[in-house]
Symmetry: C2
Subunit: 408 residues, 2 copies
Amino acid sequence: MVDRFARRSSPDNFPDISEPTLGEYQERSIINFTHGYASPDHLPADALAAVSDEVFGEHSSRALQYGPAAGLDHLREPLVAYLEEHYEIDTTLDNLMITTGAKQGLDLVCKAMIEPGDRVALTSPTYGTGLRILRSHEVEFLDVPVDEDGMVVSELEAAFEELAAAGEDLPKFVYDVPEFHNPTGVTMSRERRERLVELAAEYDVVIVEDAPYRTLRFEGESVPPVKSFDDDDNVVFLGTYSKLICPGLRVGWLIADEGIVDRLLPLKPDGGTNPMSQAYISELHKNGYVEERAVDYAEVLGDQRDVMVEAIREHLPQVDIWNVPEGGYYIWLELPKHVDTELMYEIGKDIGVLFLPGNLFSPGETHRNFLRLAWAYEDPEQIVKGVKRLSDVIDAYEERTDSPSASD
Amino acid sequence: MVDRFARRSSPDNFPDISEPTLGEYQERSIINFTHGYASPDHLPADALAAVSDEVFGEHSSRALQYGPAAGLDHLREPLVAYLEEHYEIDTTLDNLMITTGAKQGLDLVCKAMIEPGDRVALTSPTYGTGLRILRSHEVEFLDVPVDEDGMVVSELEAAFEELAAAGEDLPKFVYDVPEFHNPTGVTMSRERRERLVELAAEYDVVIVEDAPYRTLRFEGESVPPVKSFDDDDNVVFLGTYSKLICPGLRVGWLIADEGIVDRLLPLKPDGGTNPMSQAYISELHKNGYVEERAVDYAEVLGDQRDVMVEAIREHLPQVDIWNVPEGGYYIWLELPKHVDTELMYEIGKDIGVLFLPGNLFSPGETHRNFLRLAWAYEDPEQIVKGVKRLSDVIDAYEERTDSPSASD
């Protein structure tokens, strides 16, 4: 029998962990540091409820109808102004499309650009769900290291030179999260950003800049987006309201050269990104809530980071904090070399604390002695309790695996 | 220079017409029979506003968070009950996934099943946006005729036999809109549905049944879905709330064998279909509005169809009504052989009435002397005015092209 399914849908493409059911979460009070979920205590329900009358009143003919693939002007117009003021990005309606989250933006770029076997350059480790999307398009990965200043652009350059010299195809694009990088939390330096856009122009390679956490900086100085240095229109910028407002609205955006946007729009046959959500957000722009939220929520996240970092330092002496991020949602922890965090995860389920193992973040499923914690979801009290449980998990792991350090 | 873009994104894959801008629509009071938009006078703004308190109150922790790829149980549970009562489909949570509209369902099935060059069988003409989605996956088309009883399944069978005899690959799936078929409006007979599932089992071919208009029947007797005859789990059923409630919520669903669902879920990395919309709809299920809406809206659509059919009979003597549909949104009109409705469309823009030309509905861009009108969007008064304008468009077309019938 011929296989019904396409190669790309092979389960091998989607390394995963088995998560507890909702029932188990509740029954056993599991503490969840896995995903970039919104903090339940700080969901903007009141702000949204307050504009419902407008959404279902004056905007209902737009909000409840199909929407254009590029998004509603009603949202794109305030967004263009917002991007200029808060992102240092000058753009126009022709370069801006609304997407169903930044993930859809990445998927569309792949649809438009990738043939199976094409290369994509990215840091290892990198955003896990991004890897899944890229794998579903059958890309080959060109791994680039990441240090405390972000992607090591000189290594990318060396790889480009080598490929060019060998007459091989360059990557179709470079994918990165330069701001509060996922999972390591580092921010790419200004110098590297400038060099990256120069390289893109020199080699005619597209850069996909994924910036979900921008404006969620709680300390340190902001670095302008890679896109802001991009005089040659090689950068595709992905943004989202998911981290800033809340994920449940499923609205993001993409900025690119018009020639790229024109290729993406026909590949987005989704009847338009949720027009009801777009109407809600356009009202939040109008009444100033988007700005207000960025300030307030960055403060919440900063407090939660502080609590987590302090708890790690107190309760997890075996663990190295890779970097203390100045914004965003995540911290990346290095454990002793012999530890396999994928096995550790199973013990975490028993003990009642969840994290994501490092292998989910790298193309070759390396980084097995790393793990990522998200401080965004749990409240400070739970964060402390969860880090303590993590200490128990490490102890239990060492005991069960009878590893060198346990028998020392 | 190597092409930045993948083959599938070639503009040749997306035949289109240039539509007036929103400004032009308003300025010139253009009458729009093009798309399956909701009737602006009958948008359920009040019903949605009435449940906003619940969405942003007791449901906010679900509604504003990321959602599971399969959808919220809160919506899937009432939907399973609704499908049993109103669709004659028995299904379970393991077979049901929420999608961002039926279009995403079709796109996911293609992602999971299609390698470039794989065949898909479908009627010619068929759903235009469906064709665009299929083309973006580089499918080859196997055209099957359609008559007043729907897809001519005996012709499909003959094609299968021929391919099998020649040792060629059968289609990966058969795509159809058996209920109020888009664009012809016909409904597939019960006998053909039964034969279709037999064929699928015999040849191990999947059927994708796209049923956006089910429950929007305003006369005649309902025929059970193809899925209801599917004892071998070969049918993937696509449904949506877009036509029934309104498109702006962007929520649909897909029912399939668990083995298929398991392949589709990892390919849907969208953070879950809009959880806020899912929360709204789950509340509409709870308070009985979904049932109520189906009855009320079918009546509205039935009235609009009556007005359109009567106006066509009165004002368009040159035109053959292919079929008077018993439900749904569309009517398919045949013009004299020499007419090219794609050219006619341009005249329609000048005169102020829009429709979709026939070539957008067939894989080979045939059916050039056909056009589709949607009666769902405009109110009865506008429908009459628009059909009269269409009569002027036909006259102007005959004059401008100096065609045989004009010079007769």
